[in-house]
Amino acid sequence: MVESLVFVLMAIAAIAGAVTVVVARNPVYSAIGLLGTLFSVAVLYVLQLAHFVAAVQIIVYAGAVLTLFLFVIMLIGVDKDETREENLPLQRKAVIGLGSVIVLVASGLALLTDFQWIPAASNALIPEATNGTIEAIAEPLFTTWVLAFEATALLLTIAAAGAIALAHYRKRDD
């Protein structure tokens, strides 16, 4: 009962945030909207016992990433309203068209077919199985997934090296 209530609220909040991201004319507002979405999605995680992931979501996203975004926005000073005049005549039509097609397909799926999001869903939920505590996550993370975990190291190395290579200007460079 509570779950459903929270779900509904958070779902609405998430979508609202998302919409803000897309429609807000000022990047700063978009960032705020994104923040909202991230939070509400984090809550939805919690609703599904993904505690650790939710935490990471808040820390990494809301904490690091979004700050970074805002920082860059300020840095390059695009914190002003974006013009709405469209220099691609077809673009807006295309977007609307695509949007309606999606709605069409989706409703078609929902109404005409017995579409199941999770055909392999088990009818009995076992909360312990998916209780995403740190231990629970850590165990597969460092056994089955250890290689993937190592691979993330590469990712970060690249991110670092790449960022430096792109943005960091040494002397004697050009």
């Binding site: 779900f7 979501q57 970074l68 869903a121 690249i158």
Partner: protein, 100 residues
Amino acid sequence: MVDPGLYMTVAAVLFFIGALGMLTRRNALVMFMCIELMLNAVNLTLISAGRAMNDLNGQVAVFFILVVAAAEVVVGLAIIVAIFRRRSTASVDELNEMRG
């Protein structure tokens, strides 16, 4: 007890909002946020699905996707900054020398 399908639907909606954002906005940063939206949708999907199937791997996967997102952000912002340095704009509409 909420039907996991609903979670998935919310995720789908988020995903498509993000996608449409990609098509409408011309500020690289915002487009980029839309991508973050899409990734969030993916995460939500994974978690909901995993929960419904009593499988923890979903959550583990989400962890990695988060990392990827973070890395992408770093590089992406670096590129944007680099461009801004030379062109002092973040509007990709002004980056269309190459076409045809």
